[in-house]
């Protein structure tokens, strides 16, 4: 049976973020947490592979205990199992540290055929984990695919790489990174929501792994954030007031000052 794993992350809803003006840090209170938008395409691919190849699909996330909720959403969408990797020791992990923890998790899982990721998280936007996980597990990473097929434990797909379109074949396991708008992520059904609370979310913590020292996230992440500051960019900030008509007239004037004139585009083709 095809063993499918989808990596997801819970992130603060990027459209409702506020910065504390005094401290320059993110205000977390009252901000809704959501599944990282890019990960929804990964989930959809995983679910459709499960249906097509009669596979088994597991969603995995690493995060604080409340990330359980994001996994419930995955279960509601039709994921069979969910694993939450959570331990205070893993807090503040950077990309390398996250990859090392995920490597431990997959070494623990042992049986995996396809690991699917989104393209980027909306909070830190590094996009590094798919590459590093491919490196850590020493399995190929396939990106930018547009057709795929699995036959006799071999993965065949068409993908874009650089400025080439290639038809490739590789053995499993592999990491697949989905691109945005690759598919149409499904909605959660009412039945799914009910089902999601009947299932267990498996929790991996520091003790689950036979942990080497390097998994101590607080101390071993190679990168450290030394300062967070609000970006201030100097601009004129002149507010154009008046009724709509005044605003439009002023705007046309500004456009003219910048050399923007109406241009003749010729007769349109419909005529």
């Amino acid at each position: 049976m095809l063993k499918i794993f989808v990596l997801i992350k819970q992130v603060p809803d990027p459209h409702n973020l506020e910065i504390d003006r005094r401290t320059g840090t993110l205000i977390r209170e009252g901000v809704e947490n959501i599944i990282n938008p890019d990960d929804l395409y990964a989930l959809e691919l995983g679910l459709s592979l499960k249906e097509q190849y009669d596979g088994q699909i597991t969603a995995i996330t690493m995060g604080p205990p409340q990330a359980d909720f994001a996994l419930r959403e995955c279960l509601a969408m039709g994921v069979d199992h969910a694993i939450l990797i959570s331990d205070p020791m893993f807090a503040y992990s950077d990309t390398l540290q996250t990859t090392l923890v995920l490597k431990e998790a997959f070494d623990n899982i042992k049986n995996y055929d396809i690991i699917i990721t989104g393209s980027q998280t909306s909070d830190s936007s590094t996009g590094q984990v798919p590459y590093q996980l491919s490196e850590a597990l020493d399995i190929p990473l396939i990106t930018d695919i547009f057709t795929m097929e699995i036959k006799n434990n071999e993965f065949y797909c068409h993908r874009n790489l650089g400025h080439e379109s290639q038809h490739i074949q590789t053995g499993l396991p592999i990491v697949v990174r989905t691109q945005r708008h690759f598919n149409e992520p499904r909605h959660i059904s009412l039945k799914g929501i009910k089902r999601s609370f009947e299932k267990e979310v498996e929790v991996y913590n520091f003790d689950t792994f036979n942990c080497p020292d390097y998994l101590d996230g607080c101390n071993q992440s190679p990168t450290r954030v030394v300062k967070t500051e609000k970006i201030i960019l100097k601009r004129k900030n002149e507010v154009i007031g008046g009724i709509t008509k005044d605003k439009i007239e002023r705007l046309i004037h500004i456009m003219q000052e910048h050399g923007i004139e109406r241009i003749w585009t010729g007769v349109s083709q419909d005529e």
Binding site: L26, L96, S122, Y131, P140, T228, T244, M255, I263
Partner: protein
């Protein structure tokens, strides 16, 4: 943990574009890396892996490098994850660079992430600025990187591991030619066993170019965001562009909404614009977008939310319905055909 004081010099992955010319971004990084190398009194080294790599050496020498290390082979015509990672990792092991900078391109990001894993070191993506810290003995860099779609810049250091690695977006630094000096050239023999490759290419690949946009060259850019509320309204941006010789772009939201193709995205994961005038309609002004527009000479923002962050970076702020203003502009500019 290895002794970080053994690590010396500043390296730049000098990527080429379509195996015909050097990537502009690589040249920009070389110029910034020259400054850093001067400050720490160490060498600037360009790393080149390419088909006919010799063709690029003269150009690289114009950017003030002290040394070029290159590999030249037919297998290096395109970036290949296993070949490039393995060869460059060997170079790192052998020479121990202190700082290693990469263009933030498809290949640059991939290679840097893989190497950072192999070296168990830190990698900062899409860096906006680089400066040396007071800890100059260890060449400690401070990298500025935007994070959280919410207007913050984080300063990141990588204090205990080497090399310190960063990817840098095109247009972040200015390229600057310098007087030629004696450049040390080291050719490394290519010795990768391609039988180790796990992916087999079936049949001849076909060329497939990604759609390119002319956003970065446009004098007048019209940007649309989620605040336009519908595809029908967003489509009107194209009419305005047609009548004014402008170029349409936008934030990530219209792409997610299916209103606009991906290659027209302006911002950190899209294009940077250098227009005389940028007209933003219904864009709230998340930092991911804002970093792509600040090189515009004049910015006009239209948004109905007076607290939208876009107004902080705008020269002219119009608080109002973007759709209504857009229709007003169209009434004026529409050409009677």
């Amino acid at each position: 943990m290895s002794d970080i004081t053994e690590y010396k010099d500043v390296w730049v992955f000098t990527e080429n574009k379509d195996h015909v010319e050097l990537h502009e971004c690589a040249l920009e990084i070389l110029s910034k890396a020259r400054e850093i190398a001067d400050q720490i009194g160490q060498k600037l080294v360009a790393i080149v892996l390419a088909l006919d790599a010799e063709q690029y050496l003269n150009t690289i020498e114009e950017y003030g490098v002290d040394k070029i290390i290159f590999l030249s082979h037919n297998d290096l015509k395109h970036y290949h994850e296993r070949i490039f990672t393995s060869l460059v990792y060997d170079l790192i092991e052998q020479h121990k660079p202190s700082i290693f900078l990469f263009p933030s391109t498809e290949a640059g990001n991939a290679l840097a992430a893989r190497l950072a894993y192999r070296c168990r070191t830190g990698l900062v993506s899409d860096v906006l600025n680089l400066e040396l810290s007071d800890d100059y003995v260890n060449n400690l860099l401070i990298s500025d990187k935007p994070a959280y779609l919410g207007n913050v810049l984080v300063k990141i250091i990588c204090p205990t591991t080497r090399p310190q690695m960063c990817t840098i977006t095109m247009g972040t630094f200015q390229k600057k030619k310098l007087k030629n000096k004696n450049v040390e050239i080291e050719k490394v023999d290519y010795n990768y066993d391609i039988n180790k490759l796990k992916i087999e290419i079936l049949g001849a690949p076909t060329r497939k170019d990604k759609p390119s946009s002319t956003l970065s060259d446009a004098k007048f850019v019209i940007g649309g965001g989620h605040g336009l509320n519908s595809k029908a309204n967003f489509d009107k941006l194209y009419d305005l562009a047609k009548y004014t010789n402008g170029q349409v772009g936008g934030t990530r939201r219209p792409i997610m909404n299916g209103w606009m193709p991906e290659h027209l995205q302006i911002g950190i994961s899209g294009e940077t614009i250098f227009s005389d005038l940028y007209l933003s309609l219904g864009i709230s002004g998340a930092i991911q977008h804002v970093v792509g527009i600040t090189d515009s000479k004049t910015i006009v923002a239209i948004n109905k939310d007076p607290n939208a962050p876009i107004f902080k970076v705008a020269d002219y702020c119009i608080i109002g319905d973007a759709k209504e203003i857009l229709e007003g502009l169209l009434d004026y500019y529409r050409v009677v055909e």
